[in-house]
C-alpha cells in the first residue's frame, strides 16, 4: 500500500525568486491553455507568487528565477540546491546576471547613493551573478523573458527523464524559417541575431528592428566578426560595446565582446 502510494506520488515543484522582475515565473501562469494540465501533473509545493501553501523540501524540480546580488541570497541558493533534485535556472537574470549586472562594471556604492537617501540601510554585493557561479545547475533556460513553451517542454522532459529539446543555434535560423528578409543585409540595421540563441521566434526582426540579444549568446558565437560588421554599418565602438552590454551582459561571450570594444 505504502509503496504504491509512493510510486504514484506527484513530483514536487518549487519556484524560487532571487533578484528579478517576476516575469519568468509569470510565464508559467501565462501558459493559460496548459496551466491546469501542468498543475494536474505535478504538486506545486512552493510557489509564493501563486500560493500561501509553502511546503518544505526536498523538491523534485526547483525553478530558480533571478540573480544573486546579496550576501543572504548567496547563502540561500546553497540551501535551495541542497533541497532540489533537479535545479533549473530560468531567464537571463538566473543564467547571466540580468540587466542588474551592469553594476559589475561600475562602483556599486555610487549606485546606492544615486537611488537611496540613506545608503547605510542597503546591503548588496558588488556583482550580480548567475546561479551557476554559485551552485551546479542541471539546466539553464535562456531568455528575457523565457519562452513559456520552452518552459513546459523542459518540465515535461524532466518529468519523463529525457533531454529537453531546446535548440542552441542562432536567431538567424528562426528568421530564415519565417522567411524574413534579413534586416541587417537589406536595411543595414545592427542586429545581434547572428550571435544570439534562438527561442524568441525571431521577434525583433519580424517587427522591423534589430535583435537586442535577450536570449544571450548562442553555442559558438562569432562576436568578433559581428563587431566588424557593426563597424561597417557605422556603429562606434562605444555603441557596439553597449549593444553587447544588455540583458545578458555578464554572459562571458558578450562580456568579452563588450570589453574588447571598450579597450579600443
Amino acid at each position: 500500500m505504502s509503496s504504491k502510494s509512493k510510486h504514484n506520488r506527484k513530483p514536487k515543484i518549487a519556484v524560487f525568486k532571487f533578484a528579478s522582475c517576476d516575469g519568468c515565473q509569470l510565464s508559467l501562469i501565462d501558459a493559460e491553455d496548459e496551466l491546469l494540465g501542468v498543475v494536474g501533473a505535478v504538486d506545486i509545493a512552493y510557489f509564493p507568487e501563486v500560493s500561501r501553501t509553502m511546503l518544505k523540501g526536498p523538491y523534485d524540480i526547483g525553478l530558480v528565477e533571478g540573480s544573486v546580488t546579496t550576501h543572504g541570497d548567496a547563502q540561500r541558493i546553497q540551501e535551495v540546491r541542497r533541497q532540489c533534485k533537479t535545479l533549473v535556472a530560468i531567464g537571463a537574470c538566473a543564467t547571466a546576471g540580468g540587466i542588474q549586472a551592469l553594476r559589475n562594471w561600475k562602483d556599486v556604492d555610487e549606485f546606492i547613493r544615486v537611488v537611496y537617501a540613506t545608503p547605510q540601510y542597503i546591503s548588496t554585493l558588488k556583482l550580480s551573478t548567475p546561479i551557476a557561479e554559485h551552485v551546479p545547475v542541471d539546466f539553464e533556460l535562456r531568455g528575457c523573458p523565457i519562452n513559456k513553451y520552452q518552459l513546459i517542454e523542459l518540465i515535461t522532459a524532466t518529468l519523463i527523464g529525457r533531454k529537453p529539446n531546446i535548440p542552441a543555434y542562432s536567431v538567424c535560423l528562426e528568421c530564415k524559417r519565417k522567411a524574413n528578409v534579413c534586416i541587417a543585409v537589406a536595411r543595414g540595421t545592427a542586429c545581434l541575431g547572428p550571435v544570439t540563441q534562438a527561442g524568441c521566434g525571431a521577434l525583433c526582426p519580424s517587427y522591423d528592428r534589430g535583435c537586442y540579444g535577450c536570449y544571450g549568446p548562442m553555442e559558438t558565437p562569432n562576436t568578433a566578426s559581428l563587431t566588424d560588421q557593426f563597424r561597417v554599418l557605422g556603429q562606434t565602438d562605444e555603441q557596439i560595446s553597449q549593444a553587447f552590454r544588455g540583458f545578458n551582459a555578464w554572459a562571458w561571450q558578450f562580456r568579452k565582446a563588450s570589453e574588447e570594444c571598450e579597450r579600443k
Binding site: D22, S51, T69, C214
Partner: protein, 437 residues
C-alpha cells in the same frame, strides 16, 4: 487575561504578491504598536544603470523592472522622453498605445482579481485549490487573461517585455484586419468582465472604510491611461512636471523600497480605487451601469472592495479596446524620427496598480544623464501600513492564523508589486502571546 500582553503577527514570505516582502505587526493589548511592511527584495539600481544609455533603450530597460506591468514602464518612459523632446505622435499611434494598455490592464487585473485576491475571499490557499470547487470561474479567468495577453502580443510581439513600443511610435503597427480578428474574443471578454463584476459583488467584504487621499490622472475626455493632470480629492491638480514639488520619497530602514508621501499631508492611495473615485464620470455607460448594479458608487472607501472596482475597470478596458479597434486606421508611419537633443522631461501614466512617474535628463547625444522612477507600490506602501494599523486593531480578539490571513488579504487589496517597489514586502504580525491566550 487577554488585555495587556503584547503579541506579534509575522508573515515571513507574503504569498500571492509579485516579489518578495514580509509583514510584521506588534500588538500591545488592543493597541497596534508597530506595523512594518518589509521589502527585502534586493535592490536592482535601475535609475543608476540607465545613465549613459541612449534614450531609445529606456523603454526596453525599464520594462525589466516588472514582468507583470512592463507596458506601464514602456509607456511612462516613452511619454517622458517624448515630452522632453517635444515629439508629436500620430493620433493612430496614440490610439494603439491606449489599446496596448487595455491589454495589460485586462491581463494584470484578471490575474489579481481571480488568481491572487479571490482565493482570500473563498478561503482557498491558491487558485489551484479554488479550481477544484470553482472550475468554471477559473476557466473564465484563464480565457479572459489570455485575451488581454493576445492584445499585448499582437501589438508588442510577446506578453512579457514586448518589443515593439518605441519613442516616437511603434517599430511595427498592426493592420486593420489583424485587429478586427480580436473583436469576437473581446465581445466575449466584455461579457465575462460584466460577469466578473457580478461575481465579485457576491463576496463578503469586511466593514472597513478609511478616509483616503486618492491620487490619479484625470483627462478631460477619457478614463485615464497615458495623459492627463494629476489630481486628488484634496485639491491636488498638477502637471507631471510638478510631481516632485508635491511628493517626496522617504527612505525607511526596514525597506528596500522608498516610501512616497504627499508633502505636508502624508500617505495617499493610487490605483483602481483612486481612478474610479476620481474619474467615474469618464467611464463608458456599460461600466457605470455594471458598477451601479454592484452598488459601487464613488467614493468607494473600503479597500477590500477594490476587487470589484478592478472588475469594473476590466469592463472599461474591454469596451475601450473594442471602440479603438472599430475606429483604427493605421498611421502614415509607424513612428516619427526622434533627433538627439539635450532636454529634461517627465511623464505619469496609469499602470494597473496606479500612477507611475518617470523623469529623464538627456544630453545632446541622446544619452541619459539622470533618471527618476516612482512606481505605484512605493506610493501605496505607506498607505498599506496605515490600513494595517487601523485594521489589525480590530483583529486583536481573532485567533492568530485567521488574523494573519486577514492582514495578508488587506495587503493584497493593493495588488502590491514588490519587484517594482524595489527598484517591496515581508509580513511579521508579532503578537507576544498573552499567558493563556
Amino acid at each position: 487575561m487577554t488585555g495587556r500582553a503584547s503579541r506579534t503577527i509575522h508573515v515571513e514570505t507574503l504569498a500571492r504578491v509579485e516579489g518578495e516582502g514580509s509583514l510584521y505587526i506588534k500588538l500591545m493589548g488592543e493597541r497596534v504598536a508597530d506595523v512594518k511592511l518589509k521589502i527585502y527584495e534586493p535592490p536592482r539600481f535601475f535609475e543608476a544603470l540607465l545613465r549613459g544609455r541612449h534614450f531609445s533603450e529606456a523603454p526596453d530597460i525599464t520594462a525589466r523592472i516588472c514582468g507583470i506591468c512592463p507596458i506601464a514602464y514602456q509607456m511612462s518612459a516613452i511619454h517622458a522622453i517624448e515630452r522632453a523632446l517635444n515629439i508629436r505622435i500620430d493620433p493612430s499611434v496614440r490610439l494603439l498605445r491606449r489599446l496596448f494598455y487595455c491589454g495589460e490592464w485586462i491581463e494584470s487585473h484578471t490575474l489579481h482579481v481571480y488568481m491572487l485576491h479571490a482565493p482570500d475571499f473563498l478561503g482557498c490557499q491558491d487558485v489551484i485549490e479554488m479550481a477544484r470547487d470553482h472550475r468554471e470561474v477559473v476557466e473564465r479567468a484563464l480565457r479572459l487573461k489570455k485575451i488581454g495577453n493576445r492584445i499585448v502580443q499582437l501589438l508588442g510581439g510577446r506578453e512579457i517585455h514586448p518589443i515593439s513600443a518605441a519613442v516616437g511610435g511603434f517599430y511595427k503597427v498592426p493592420t486593420k484586419n489583424q485587429l478586427r480578428e480580436m473583436v469576437e474574443d473581446l465581445e466575449w471578454a466584455l461579457e465575462a468582465s460584466l460577469e466578473t463584476v457580478r461575481w465579485t459583488g457576491t463576496l463578503d467584504f469586511p466593514d472597513f472604510e478609511q478616509d483616503y487621499e486618492f491620487v490619479a490622472l484625470r483627462h478631460p475626455d477619457e478614463y485615464p491611461f497615458n495623459e492627463g493632470r494629476l489630481v486628488s480629492n484634496r485639491g491636488l491638480d498638477i502637471d507631471a512636471a510638478e510631481y516632485e514639488d508635491h511628493f517626496v520619497e522617504q527612505h525607511v530602514k526596514h525597506s528596500n523600497a522608498l516610501h512616497s508621501v504627499v508633502r505636508g499631508r502624508g500617505s495617499y492611495l493610487v490605483g483602481p480605487l483612486a481612478r474610479f473615485n476620481l474619474n467615474f464620470d469618464k467611464l463608458p455607460e456599460v461600466a457605470q451601469k455594471a458598477a451601479s448594479e454592484a452598488k459601487l458608487r464613488p467614493p468607494v472607501k473600503n479597500p477590500f472592495r477594490s476587487i470589484s472596482v478592478r472588475a469594473v475597470e476590466l469592463v472599461f478596458a474591454c469596451a475601450e479596446a473594442l471602440r479603438i479597434i472599430r475606429e483604427y486606421e493605421p498611421p502614415a508611419l509607424p513612428r516619427v524620427e526622434v533627433p538627439n537633443r539635450a532636454a529634461v522631461g517627465q511623464a505619469i501614466t496609469e499602470a494597473p496598480r496606479g500612477i507611475l512617474y518617470h523623469r529623464y535628463a538627456i544630453d545632446d547625444k541622446g544619452l541619459i544623464i539622470a533618471a527618476k522612477i516612482v512606481p505605484p507600490t512605493s506610493q501605496n506602501q505607506k498607505r498599506i501600513e496605515d490600513d494595517l494599523r487601523e485594521y489589525a486593531a480590530r483583529l486583536v480578539a481573532w485567533p492568530q492564523e485567521e488574523a494573519t490571513w486577514k492582514c495578508e488579504q488587506a495587503i493584497r487589496n493593493y495588488d502590491p508589486c514588490i519587484s517594482c517597489a524595489t527598484h517591496f514586502l515581508k509580513l511579521t504580525v508579532e503578537r507576544a502571546e498573552a499567558d493563556g491566550l
